[in-house]
């Protein structure tokens, strides 16, 4: 790898010198060029890396040592422009530069796409901050027959230009060495501020591209997944593999192994025996190992029922993310999403919602207009089941019948479509045009996949498990004080009368608000204890799926859309969930349906 520093700039006074606070370095660039990989390489911290634009929607900060200097490195969301019509996440990055929150800009570019990178260079240069340009993925560029004259580019722009293959760590030392030579870029003045002609001319001059034969396989695969005749069967296979891996292997095999093999065989009896022996107070014993015990209920739910499911889901989902497959689903779904006031791009937050609705709610920032963001947040809250919930659904209904599963998904999908269609008509505002970049298809690297999956599992353990325990403690208190009976009795007209479910289900819905998967795990237990009939299970799971989002998701909705909109969504979603459940219950009864 080489680094090119314009000779006259190398003599300029260094940017790095002793200072009172760490130097702030911001990574800026087009989406999906590898900013987060470089961030990780510089700071040793991991920012989620995926193969689709929009993985980073907020900013991540980390420390790096450059020579003897401490730097704060900021990873920013990818931007296609810093001027003109900007999306929410592009504003985030623009503010970093405009408010002088950075001392130095490292622009990361995909070496294949010099023209687009230069348009961004020109816009970033307007903020007059010292810059370094990184041409990343030069290996992929060479394979595609693209060579860039980095030395001339450096002298024309007056900034260091460094070539890297960040994923392999190549060129990172050169990048660090180049930082002291960073300088404001010299861009010729263009009267109307439209730098596309300049970028085109410069790129054409400094880039040699020869036709390449490599990429045939990529092209073949690309065609196979995006054409309906082959793409839809491939989608069906992908969904079936997910079902097998998460719904059967995770939710059934692993759950049985951990729940029966570990918790019921060793941990719970051991905990009960220890508690009986050493804890003289019945109330404390109950708190730990009773029916609503922290260990026997909270920990068992979190570790034995939900963990295997989210772990298998995170693994397969991370693989799909890194392969570049998910954005291609936008091509199929664009027409349908357009009827719901969105466009194909909305497939990203929707599919991410299957992982976690809270994270997906944040991802709605990549959508073009406020109306689209609101509709997407609403639909996520309404009908997209998160990984754990999805697997409990598969676990319960898979054991009943395929028809039961189809009924639930059919009702939920129809409901999403119906609400989306109404929202498109009723809410003010516009939708944006469907214009989406498709990342290259890649074979996911195992290291990133493992790293990302482990990080997400750790996130689950830190975030969800405490909530499971708090929820269990809350249920324990409600039970001991007799309030639980009151809640169950209060919920009876709705739960038993309207939905035709056993009264105990009320407590499961309370748990569901804490975390949806916690509630779903409760239904899982009820159903295994034989307390739910097949039709009741379908009704209960449908209501739970459509029901209010969990606390974390609700807080995120407040953050993204404001309290008023969040409360409106809450009331609306609850109404839809209960009325759909009631409708389903009566339809089953009148038609005499049983699964």
């Amino acid at each position: 790898m080489s680094c090119h520093i314009a000779a006259e700039r190398a003599a300029a006074p260094p940017v790095l010198r002793l200072r009172a606070r760490p130097l702030k370095v911001v990574l800026v660039g087009n989406p999906n060029v590898g900013k987060s990989v470089i961030f990780g390489r510089l700071t040793g911290r991991y920012a989620t890396v995926s193969n689709y634009p929009g993985t980073t929607v907020g900013i991540t900060t980390g420390r790096a040592m450059v020579g003897a200097e401490v730097c704060d490195v900021i990873d920013s969301p990818g931007v296609n422009a810093l001027e003109g019509v900007l999306s929410e996440d592009e504003h985030v990055t623009r503010r970093l530069l405009a408010n002088r929150e950075a001392d130095l800009v490292i622009q990361v570019a995909d070496a294949r796409n010099l023209r687009r990178a230069l348009m961004l260079t020109a816009q970033a240069a307007a903020f007059s901050l010292p810059m370094v340009l990184v041409l990343n993925m030069v290996d992929e560029a060479r394979r595609r027959g693209v060579e860039v004259d980095a030395a001339r580019l450096s002298s024309e722009l007056g900034i260091p230009v460094v070539e890297t293959v960040a994923i392999e760590g190549q060129g990172l030392n050169e990048l660090k060495e180049a930082l002291p030579a960073a300088a404001p870029a010299r861009i010729p003045f263009v009267p109307n501020g439209d730098y596309s002609a300049w970028a085109h001319e410069t790129a054409s001059r400094l880039r040699r591209s020869r036709p390449s034969s490599i990429g045939r396989l990529q092209e073949f695969l690309g065609r196979a997944v995006r054409q309906p005749a082959t793409g839809l069967p491939i989608l069906a296979v992908v969904l079936y593999v997910i079902y097998l891996f998460v719904g059967v292997f995770g939710a059934q095999t692993l759950v049985r192994l951990i729940e029966h093999g570990v918790f019921q065989a060793y941990i719970n009896p051991a905990a009960t025996a220890l508690a009986d022996r050493f804890i003289p107070f019945a109330a404390v014993r109950d708190f730990l190992v009773g029916p609503y015990g922290l260990i026997t209920m909270g920990l068992t739910y979190a570790m034995a029922i939900v963990l295997p499911v989210v772990a298998t889901f995170f693994l397969i989902f991370g693989w799909l993310e890194d392969s570049g497959y998910i954005p291609r689903l936008a091509i199929f779904s664009d027409r349908i999403f357009r009827m719901m006031g969105l466009n194909g791009k909305a497939v990203l937050p929707m599919v991410l919602g299957l992982g976690c609705d809270t994270m997906a709610t944040m991802t709605t920032r990549i959508l073009g207009t406020p109306k689209e963001r609101l509709i997407a947040v609403l639909l996520l809250a309404l009908g997209i089941p998160c990984s754990a919930q999805l697997a409990t659904i598969l676990g319960i209904l898979g054991g009943i019948s395929f028809a039961a599963l189809l009924t639930l998904f059919g009702v939920v999908v129809l409901q999403i479509f119906f609400v989306g269609f109404l929202a498109a008509q009723l809410l003010p505002g516009e939708r944006s045009d469907f214009i989406m970049e498709l990342p290259p298809l890649r074979l996911p690297g195992m290291r990133n996949l493992m790293h990302k999956t482990l990080l997400r599992i750790r996130w689950y353990l830190w975030e969800a498990v405490p909530l499971f325990l708090i929820g269990t403690a809350l249920l324990f208190v409600l039970d001991k004080t007799g309030l639980l009976r009151w809640v169950v009795a209060g919920g009876r007209p709705v739960v038993t009368g309207l939905l035709g479910l056993p009264a105990e289900t009320a407590q499961v819905f309370v748990m569901g608000f804490l975390r949806r998967d916690y509630g779903a795990a409760g239904l899982f237990q009820l159903s295994h204890a034989g307390q739910l009939s097949a039709t009741q299970a379908v009704v209960a799971l449908t209501v739970m799926t459509l029901f209010v989002p969990c606390v974390a998701n609700f807080l995120m909705i407040i953050r993204e859309q404001g309290l008023k909109a969040a409360l409106a969504i809450l009331v609306f979603v609850t109404t839809v969930a209960l009325s759909t459940g009631a409708g389903l219950h009566y339809a089953f009864r009148i038609l005499g349906v049983d699964f």
Partner: protein, 86 residues
Amino acid sequence: MLSGSSVSTFEHGRRLVSLGVGERGVVVRVLRDNPARAERLKALGVTPGARVRLLQRFPGFVFECDQTELAVEPSVARAILIEELG
């Protein structure tokens, strides 16, 4: 100022929407009747001089512009004026 209909008769050149699968062209210009759309296309590199190749027409338009693969809806493909290459 030209009215809407005379603009469309004035723009009689070829558009991305009329390319066949596998055919190539060079972007001549992007219609500015919808400025937000034109800005976004520009930011993605769809600017005069860029080489394009149409990869797919249904269920959505997919084309390669330089080294970027883009998926767009038909109305967007209609706004991109091109000159055909052999």
